[in-house]
Symmetry: C2
Subunit: 148 residues, 2 copies
């Protein structure tokens, strides 16, 4: 864990306190691991990163607490398996690109101008449907460098 990761850990732990849950060994370990990976991970993958230091059932509970405290975000990949990553307020807003052949997913960033274009499109379209838009996800799919 490098110096720049320290603040992220601190921010996350402060969030846990604010949410009224304790900062435990398992929660700290998961946060520290997720800081170091690029792209969302499954419980199984995190378990491997942790070398099974946290039993799967406890890991799921940990991921659930971290998600509902707003430290992590969860979504489901193409196979329907849950994937977790640090919430955007910790890492910055970003999107995903997934390889349709090998299934790997990585984070991608847009510059501010592009991002605001997307946000405007989302807001307008949502309003037309009577929705109050609070967020968007733009997932790209294609063939990754290794697969084409």
């Amino acid at each position: 864990m490098t110096a720049q990761h320290r603040p992220t850990v601190d921010l996350a732990e402060e969030r846990l306190r604010t949410s009224g849950v304790r900062t435990t060994r398992a929660r700290r370990l998961v946060i520290e691991k997720l800081i170091r990976v690029d792209g969302p991970s499954t419980a199984e993958e995190i378990n491997k990163l942790l070398k099974s230091a946290v039993p799967l059932s406890s890991l799921y509970r940990t991921l659930s607490v971290l998600s509902s405290s707003g430290v992590l975000e969860r979504f489901h990949d193409g196979a329907g398996v849950a994937r977790y990553e640090l919430a955007e307020w910790l890492t910055g807003h970003h999107h995903h690109i997934t390889c349709t052949r090998c299934g790997s997913t990585q984070d991608i960033d847009f510059d501010a101008q592009i991002e605001s274009t997307i946000r405007r499109i989302a807001d307008d379209a949502g309003r037309a449907a009577g929705f109050d838009v609070t967020g968007h996800r733009l997932d790209l799919e294609g063939l990754c460098p290794r697969c084409h």
Copy 2:
């Protein structure tokens, strides 16, 4: 089923033939039902629409065949449950907007200009990451008219 739905059924069945699979009662029933619903449905919901005329295990097989033939598209909702809808080449390209409170999802369309803007953004970003972009999904989230 109204007149305009006929061609969709025909196109879908032709696709099945092309894919080398048979057009069976269950497959036809599923296609006909999905033409009439707005937004992607779960196997459970489709089963209800079909009044259990197709046993769940067969329904899952049907949905799997229709998906790999390209007649349906599958994705997973916030709860991780698979949802199916007619493929875009049958219905036209569209996006989804989901209510963060009640979980309902509906289809939304963008006009051609907006859509081409999105496509350009997706292509550029993908290329920068070394990907050959083949598609994109822009999912909006917010509060639906009934929930706010």
